[in-house]
């Protein structure tokens, strides 16, 4: 791996899952910057935030579906309304407890969603994602 991803955002209410996923990503050495949001709203606030006039613009987002408050679907609705500067060239993938065809079809409606995986995030999935979207980082 020559180059690392600038920033990865994990959106999940489960602390244990976040910890496990963060650990997997770090172990794979994909990035040094992992931001964790515990709800959809928190993630939106993070995306809209500015640091010295620049939005965080994470390179990769993992979005959980089942969350209290704003769930994954509601987050997607809001996310699609964001300004381009806030969205950046983000690759968004969804994580679900299990693969449900209906959920998968529903996710296809959103153009931002580029992947749909069942939890937990493992090495195979991550390798897949890097191969598909970030070949230059290999």
């Amino acid at each position: 791996m020559k180059k690392k991803l600038k920033n990865v955002l994990l959106i999940d209410d489960s602390e244990s899952d976040n910890f496990y996923h963060e650990r997997k990503i770090r172990k794979m050495g994909i990035t040094d910057n992992i931001h964790i949001s515990y709800s959809g709203q928190e993630a939106l606030d993070y995306l809209r935030s500015e640091l010295e006039g620049v939005h965080p613009q994470p390179t990769l987002i993992f979005l959980d579906i089942n969350m209290p408050g704003m769930n994954g679907w509601e987050f997607l609705e809001e996310y699609e309304k964001l300004e381009v500067a806030q969205k950046g060239e983000i690759i968004l993938t969804m994580l679900s407890n299990s693969i449900d065809e209906r959920d998968k079809e529903r996710a296809n409606v959103y153009s931002s969603v580029r992947g749909f995986y069942s939890k937990p995030l493992n090495e195979d999935y991550l390798t897949d994602i890097i191969k598909m979207h970030f070949s230059e980082y290999l």
């Binding site: 489960s14 244990s16 899952d17 496990y20 407890n97 299990s98 065809e101 209906r102 939890k119 937990p120």
Partner: protein
């Protein structure tokens, strides 16, 4: 209607012609009667005039004699007056008697006699010399003439009298004829009316009867209508009750459907959510083993293995439950070729078929209407069960046959496996039900439960027949 018209027309004609006849007769009689009255009046006039003529002759006679004997000028004037009167009467009577030749003759006779009697006198009257003897002589002659005049006038009066009688009789007769005619008219009128009434009477009776009959049938109709209305009400009530029952059963069906969906949803949510804590357990088992390899040794390794296998089994159970709840939701019903399904399955099982030299024989399979993925799973589960539950030292032999009834295809999958005891024939289709330990035959006890649900999705039944130790046959039906 024709009869009524006939009766009316005949009667009408008779009545009208009778009345016309009667009116004609009455008119005729009146005319005749009036004529008779006129004639009577005429006769009276004639008679009166004759009498006046007579009296003027007498006057003339007496004045003549008076003048002759007294020679007074007064008599002479009176005579001249009487003569004038006579002439007027005569002219009048002549006109009146124009119609009667006999009387006219007599009148002329009288007139000539009068002229005879009085012309001499007139000569004398207007001469200064008069011969009394001559007058006396002539007076005798005149007397005869006067008698004759008298007689003739009397005859004339008699004649007029007889005419009067005759004409009065005529007048009376016409009067009676009028009365009789009126009587006849009344009788005809009465008879006609009577006849009409008599003829109309049966018609009236008939009409009345018809009216009564109509009223009766009306009443009948009304009661029939009431009956109909009542039975209609009853029917409506029955229909309402039936509709209610249908509605109730529909509601029941709907609620059952809803309950089923709720159950499926429950199973889905439960299994979906159960995955999460299970995942956490397995995730952190992994991390623990990674982070503290030195602590996982000796008996701890065995404990970890037990925990791992339990978690693994749990995950399989949950994902089985999840799949079970999703059966029939993957797609739409379509035409499915069972031959294709079997070929696919045999391809999938290629390795084990070769390894155990498995024999799978099947009839020509039909095309059925159903869920493709589920149907494949059904056959796959049954064939895999047949292979799995055949003793390792026996070559599995699987026979797949099909027959059909009017509305169902009946499939039979026969194996030479270990068989099933009779008491377990129904139990095997229950969820998580297993007859053998994991040690002997691995599994979660969901395969046949899946099969049962898939068959039921296709409105069919599934059951098993078996000779314990010899083999089993799974039978299932799929609605056409």
């Amino acid at each position: 209607m024709k009869r009524i018209r006939n009766i009316g027309l005949n009667n009408f004609i008779v009545l009208i012609s009778s009345l016309l006849l009667v009116v004609f007769l009455i008119t005729f009689s009146f005319i005749k009667n009036a004529a008779s009255a006129e004639l009577v009046a005429h006769t009276w006039e004639v008679k009166n005039n004759i009498r006046r003529l007579m009296s003027s002759i007498n006057e003339m006679e007496s004045k003549k004699l008076g003048y002759l004997f007294t020679n007074q000028i007064g008599y002479r004037h009176s005579f001249e007056n009487a003569r004038k009167d006579y002439n007027e009467r005569f002219t009048e009577i002549s006109v009146l008697m124009q119609d009667n030749e006999n009387q006219l003759q007599r009148l002329k006779l009288v007139d000539s006699l009068v002229n005879l009697n009085f012309s001499d006198f007139e000569v004398i009257l207007f001469s200064e010399e008069r011969n009394v003897e001559e007058i006396v002589l002539k007076g005798k002659l005149d007397q005869e003439n006067a008698d004759q005049i008298q007689a003739n006038l009397e005859m004339m009066i008699d004649f007029e009298n007889s005419l009067l009688d005759e004409r009065a009789d005529n007048y009376e007769i016409w009067k009676y004829i009028i009365l009789i005619t009126i009587g006849i008219a009344a009788v005809i009128l009465f008879l006609s009316i009577y006849n009409l009434v008599k003829r109309v009477q049966p018609l009236m009776n008939e009409l009345l009867e018809t009216k009564e009959r109509l009223e009766f049938s009306n009443a009948n109709l009304k009661s029939t209508l009431t009956d109909l209305h009542n039975s209609n009400l009853q029917k409506e009530a029955e229909i309402l009750a039936k509709e209610k029952a249908v509605l109730e059963s529909e509601n029941l069906n709907a609620s059952l459907l809803a309950k089923n969906q709720q159950l499926d949803h429950f199973a889905y949510v439960a299994s979906h959510d159960l995955q999460e804590p299970l995942r956490t357990v397995s995730n952190y088992l992994e991390i623990f083993q990674e982070d503290y390899p030195e602590r996982v040794e000796g008996e701890a390794t065995m404990y970890f293995e037990f925990i791992n296998s339990a978690v693994d089994r749990m995950r399989k159970l949950i994902s089985g439950l999840l799949s079970f709840s999703r059966l029939g939701t993957s797609g739409e019903m379509e035409e499915v070729d069972v031959n294709e399904i079997l070929n696919d399955i045999i391809d999938d099982f290629d390795a084990i078929i070769e390894e155990r030299e498995i024999v799978i024989e099947s009839d020509e399979m039909p095309k059925i209407h159903g869920y493709k993925l589920e149907l494949k799973q059904l056959f796959q589960n049954l064939i895999s069960n047949a292979i799995k539950f055949t003793a390792p030292d026996v070559t599995p032999n699987i026979q797949i046959t099909v027959d059909e009834t009017v509305s169902y295809f009946n499939f039979h999958i026969k194996d030479n496996g270990i068989g099933i005891p009779d008491k377990d024939f129904t139990k095997i289709f229950d969820m998580f039900s297993r007859l053998h330990s994991t040690k002997d035959y691995d599994g979660q006890g969901i395969g046949l439960a899946f099969c049962k649900k898939i068959v039921e999705l296709h409105h069919g039944n599934i059951w098993v027949t078996s000779d314990f130790g010899v083999g089993s046959t799974i039978h299932f039906t799929i609605k056409k």
